[in-house]
């Protein structure tokens, strides 16, 4: 809580909307975890990197898997190693502290300067997982019963939590968070994002690619809608492949970069066939410019 003046404004390689910047700053100022939700590919994980870069802090990433337990993030007591060591008697096993290893959250607490801690994809874990972290995130300390020590956070870390909404998060957990939903970027913002990655892109190509992209996303029956990162890959493929802007709307070249499911492929080709190339040429979408 040492500095309220710092403020996050996005970084060169990450465009953050005004609202998102605001949410980040509120979370930092209040010392609350920032919960980020949004469609896959809207840059949830990238945000933490950007906050760390933007504020000049170190980033610690705690990737959550379905087997992750809340305690794993605090510390791990390696009993098995201790048992093995005790068999040989060449280590000092009387000091349990040698067998306590800090988890990501523990590391963040013990860091000598304030860090950014990313708890990535919290919804992957067990339903009770977020509740198990309530206390630690609230008061920023935890107890190690094995040694009787209490670990206090030297500097309250900036905690960023991402969720894909696979599972509902518990209310008690939500109450303590600052929440932000990253909406899927509109065409204007998307062209800014692309410009960051490919500054020299031809305007015509960009328009056509965006028109085709949003046309694709507009197809309701797609099982997996293409996301930002796929669009970026696609734009690169188009550039490298030397595709002319006119071809994009007509043929949708390198469609495999955008669509990952057989079913979607057939759907799109069907539509393309039925509606003809006119459907998604940029001229049909003047508002996208």
């Amino acid at each position: 809580m040492q500095d309220h003046k710092i403020s996050f404004t996005g970084t060169e390689d990450y465009i953050a909307s005004k609202e998102l910047q605001n949410s980040v700053n509120v979370a930092v100022a209040l010392g609350r975890p920032l919960l980020i939700k949004g469609e896959p590919g809207t840059g949830k994980t990238m945000l933490a990197q950007s906050i760390a870069d933007g504020l000049g802090k170190k980033l610690l990433i705690w990737n959550i898997k379905s087997t992750t337990k809340a305690k794993d993030g605090l510390y791990i007591y390696d009993t098995v190693q201790r048992l093995y060591d005790s068999q040989f008697g060449d280590h000092d096993v009387s000091d349990i502290r040698h067998y306590i290893k800090m988890g990501r959250l523990g590391e963040a607490f013990l860091a000598s300067v304030q860090v950014v801690l990313l708890i990535d994809e919290i919804d992957k874990a067990d339903l009770e997982f977020p509740n198990d972290l309530l206390w630690e995130l609230d008061v920023m300390n935890f107890n190690i019963p094995e040694t009787g020590e209490t670990v206090h956070a030297r500097h309250r870390p900036i905690v960023v939590i991402t969720s894909n909404a696979e599972k509902e998060l518990p209310d008690a957990f939500l109450r303590r968070c600052i929440f932000h939903y990253i909406a899927f970027p509109d065409a204007a913002m998307m062209s800014d994002i692309i410009a960051v990655h490919y500054p020299d892109l031809e305007q015509k190509l960009l328009d056509e690619a965006l028109a085709a992209f949003y046309w694709l996303r507009g197809i309701g029956s797609l099982q997996k809608k293409p996301s930002t990162s796929e669009l970026l890959d696609w734009v690169q493929a188009l550039t490298v492949g030397g595709i002319s802007p006119e071809q994009i709307g007509e043929e949708l070249p390198f469609l495999g970069v955008l669509l990952k499911k057989d079913h979607d492929f057939t759907t799109v080709l069907q539509r393309l066939h039925n509606e003809g190339a006119q459907a998604k040429s940029a001229s049909r979408f003047p508002h996208l410019r």
Partner: protein, 398 residues
Amino acid sequence: MFINFFYLLKAYGVPVTITEWMMLTEALALGMAHSSLTGFYHLGRAVLVKSETHYDRYDLAFYSYFQGIETPVELTEKVLQWLEKALPPRYISPEERQKFQEWDLDELRRQLEQRLKEQDGEHHGGSNWIGTGGTSPFGHSGYHPAGIRIGGEAVNQSAVQVAAQRNFRGFRTDTTIGVRQFEVALRKLRQLSSKEEGPREELDLDETVQETGNKGGLLQLVWTRGRKNMVKVALVMDSGGSMDPYMRICSQLFTAMNRSSHFKDLRFFFFHNCIYQHLYQEPSCSLSSAIRTDDFLRMLSPDYKLIVLGDASMAPSELTMPGGSIDWSYSNDEPGIAWLQRIKNHFDHAVWLNPIPAHFWARVTGNYTIAKIRSIFPMYELTVEGLEGAIKKLKVRQ
């Protein structure tokens, strides 16, 4: 001074709590709103709203609190009162029913639209309130002729789209008769995780002793995989008016499901007559409990066992026509059948349980839609035997 805003948010269905309100106060004290309304808007949303599905309600509440509408609450009441007066009485006499049946869908809709237009003139900004869809009785209404369909002797009993007050009833009761039988049947819905997958997390004591002995007392820990029930279940129930006669048996199944603690995960969802782009988390199908069907499909992986519980009887238009939803204010761009097909395709295992006894399926009023839905979902009657059949179907590898 903003405390009324807090209550207004609650009234609009944003679940705000004191904790969050205090947090907002703290942030305001730190100057996080940058002394502007826009700043306050974003700050409030970040601190008070915890789900993107509530964003819209927050916007509405914010709009009504800050945008020059002087007495928003009163206005709501006024509109509601007006709506109440305009509603047909809840008891509909046979003559009146005749009148309704003569109207077709478009006529009915036109009439209501007409009324709404008039109201717009009378109460300034009134359309705004109705536009929210959830707060006016117009949003959630449906009238079903009282006749029960299984009799087979009635002719014109298809549900007509009428805006009328609907009685909501929760499903959860403490019925005990029959519950146990369902529970026993449900216990068969079990699929243990194999010894082949998952992390080795449990200490295999026998093997550990054996191995340690083999090593002459040198400790050798052996880990094994535990066996757990991996079955995840999603129960999607029709809570529409035509289900009323079957309320009791549905409650029994619901109670039995709820008591079954052996599932890895169990989720309940509700719909009204047919599934469109929204499902509901409460039997009332209120707007505040709505989730998008797309999100439902994203949230539940295909390995969930889907059980749909409904009478599958509705007006053919409700199933096959865009805009055919029984709720007048609810517009579905895609016909219900497309949604049903999509849901069926998503899940590896899905069954439909029908409280109407199987031998009536071909004869009841809803036989057309029952047949249609049966072509998508394997359908079983809601009896203990039917449930067992359904469970077998859910366990078969496809």
